[in-house]
Amino acid sequence: MYDFLTGMEFYRFLKGPMVWFAFIIFTGGSAYRVISLVYRSRNAKVIYTYMDLKYSLRSILHWIIPFASTNMRNHPWMTIITFLFHGCLIFTPVFLLAHNMLIQESWNIAWWTLPERTADAMTFIVIMCVVFFAIRRLVSPEVRFVTSASDFVILSIAAAPFVTGFLAFHHLMIDYRLALNIHILAGEIMLIAIPFTRLSHMLFFWLIRAYTGSDFGAVRHSKDY
């Protein structure tokens, strides 16, 4: 078992067919989730009737710019940590040198990459943020009240690629080949999980905000931030 997990064969599988599989599930699943929501919303009397582009964008902008909404200003630490977390979570894998080299190897395309030290620091930030979120779930009464096992599972899914990537990069604790293989697998699991777990908030954030923004702005002449 150990030999298999650290072996080249498993590595080639993860790097080859499994990557394709993960990407197809991720894109296909996301498209399905979004399209089916857009389609099902037709029947609701109050959704498309009141959608408004200007107020959708106003709402989205106020919630993707740090401190642009009242609640973000009320919780400065949470705001900083959330933005750091999401920023690093998305940018690090996309602009990581090692990932880029793999892509270049396969398709001969490449883009700008992060300096290795920066990427390393960003990975560390993601891990620290996850630790913060986990602790917050346990100690903050209002969060604890609505926390269940699934919340920790989701947090782990998001954390795993970073933890294993970090271990592999620094050759820490476990065998490099093992860390690398688990790292790739973890990344693939995360991609697959996005459309089908509450990680789908990545997809629905935009749609819900657009609706709420339209309702508050265009219909009720009020603000939602």
Partner: protein
């Protein structure tokens, strides 16, 4: 795990009706509401919510109950909808009663939490679905059910028949004529610019409010009328009980009265929920995008009168004044600045509240809670503690509360917590400060331009 504790409350409308409920019927109603009536928002909201708890501080219950986590908006969804959606066995009557208590007595459907959730999840929509389920099972505060029955039988919330209504209008007109020369409360005038819609309390125990409105309309020289038929009142309590069929019927009757009189606009009195039902919920239920007859709130109306000089402010109120932003008019209609314009024009010393405008807290009487009667009064007094603190901080002696629910509960809070606050409707403010031109005064020596109130 945190233990949720609540005072037991005896309410026949919930205790008795929940007792005999068959699980099959509960199941059927839940399916109907959650699978047929609800829309894509339900699942999307529930599945997107990341349980971050950032909506907690939006809720005045959470703040008033010393940050008790079970009062946070998301916690109320957890204790109701998550439970319902995740059920393996059908619920029993006791469980429905538990849901009803949360949906009816721990949320005012004020939508403040939507402004604090990073996704903008509409918790009020979710809890209104729970109310709908409970309502269809007749598990709702008894007083609220009584209001709904009254709507069905008399088309008003408090058993005021059409005869009493017309009688009162005629009496009020006569009385007004002692002050204002040839004052009229024109009934059934076709083609008028405005049809005034009062709260039914304005023809029972708060008649001075109707008289005030008539006085302002006469002094400003507005072309207005009131219907002599049913449909004159639309303080839609059925909306809060989840009796949407009745809610629709009330609004239809109301708009029909306006169609019949061919008025150009409806002038809404100072009732947040009547306004909300007419402009949003009832109108949408009937299939209109916006009200079929333009709907003008009293706040906007007074603002325009003062701005355009159609009435003149003769004297200003000197005592410190503050404001309650009714959710239905401010967070859900953006009339906060107009309200402040009126107050600044009529009061010398206006003390702003924090938070203000659309961020202001609900008074804890909204969503029908004001109408649940004596068994539930403590909910409003306790849930309103944050409101009390807010008013105390302003040091004001007068609160302008242009909504019947807000008004009543703030008066009660003032008694309960010995705040010594005087609560005024916007129309009281106008009548207290407005000039009545010399030529309009009926009895000079008796009337120094004030009267009413």
């Amino acid at each position: 795990m945190f233990k949720v504790e609540r005072k037991p409350v005896a309410d026949l409308g919930m205790d008795d009706t929940a007792k005999g409920l068959a699980p099959e019927r509960i199941e059927k109603v839940m399916r109907w509401v959650l699978e047929r009536e609800s829309d894509a928002r339900l699942r999307t909201y529930v599945e997107t919510c990341i349980h971050c708890g950032l909506c907690s501080e939006a809720c005045h219950y959470y703040l008033s109950y010393k940050r008790d986590p079970s009062y946070a908006p998301v916690s109320k969804v957890r204790q109701t909808l998550w439970d319902i959606l995740g059920r393996k066995h059908p619920a029993d009557g006791e469980t429905v009663k538990k849901y009803a208590r949360i949906a009816f007595a721990e949320c005012n459907l004020c939508r403040r939490c939507s402004m604090y959730c990073p996704f903008g999840i509409d918790i009020a929509y979710l809890l209104a679905l729970v109310r709908r389920i409970c309502g269809l099972l007749n598990v709702a505060p008894q007083y609220l059910q009584d209001n709904t029955n009254s709507h069905i039988h008399t088309f008003t919330q408090s058993w005021v028949g059409q005869d009493d209504y017309v009688d009162t209008l005629q009496f009020l007109e006569e009385e007004l004529r002692m002050d204002i020369l040839n004052a009229r409360i024109p009934l059934d005038k076709t083609g008028a610019e405005y049809m005034y819609t009062p709260h039914s309390h304005e023809v029972t125990f708060k008649t001075h409010l109707l008289a005030n409105m008539a006085r302002i309309l006469n002094v400003a020289g507005i072309d207005w009328t009131m219907p002599s038929t049913d449909g004159w009142e639309n303080t839609n309590q059925a909306m809060h009980a989840g009796y949407y069929e009745t809610m629709g019927m009330i609004e239809r009757k109301h708009f029909e009265a306006a169609f019949r009189l061919k008025v150009r606009r409806i002038l809404a009195g100072e009732c947040g929920h009547a306004f909300r039902a007419a402009v949003y919920d009832g109108t949408r239920w009937l299939g209109w995008k916006t009200p079929p007859v333009p709907y003008v709130s009293a706040i906007q109306f007074f603002y325009e009168l003062v701005r355009d000089g159609r009435i003149r402010i003769a004297r200003k109120i000197q005592e410190p004044v503050t404001v309650q932003d009714p959710c239905s008019f401010v967070r859900n209609r953006g009339l906060g600045e107009m309200l402040r314009y009126i107050i600044r024009a009529t009061c010398e010393d206006f003390r702003e509240v924090t938070p203000k405008l659309e961020h202001n807290y609900c008074c804890c009487a909204g969503g029908g809670v004001i109408n649940y009667g004596p068994p539930w009064k403590f909910i409003r007094m306790e849930g309103g503690r944050i409101k009390v603190r807010q008013f105390r901080e302003t040091g004001a002696k007068i609160v302008i509360a242009p909504c019947h629910s807000c008004h009543k509960t703030i008066e009660e809070m003032s008694d309960f917590y010995k705040l010594g606050l005087h609560v005024l409707f916007a129309n009281e403010l106008i009548v207290k400060t407005m000039e009545v031109p010399e030529a309009m005064r009926a009895v000079q020596q008796k009337n120094e331009g004030t009267g009413g109130v």
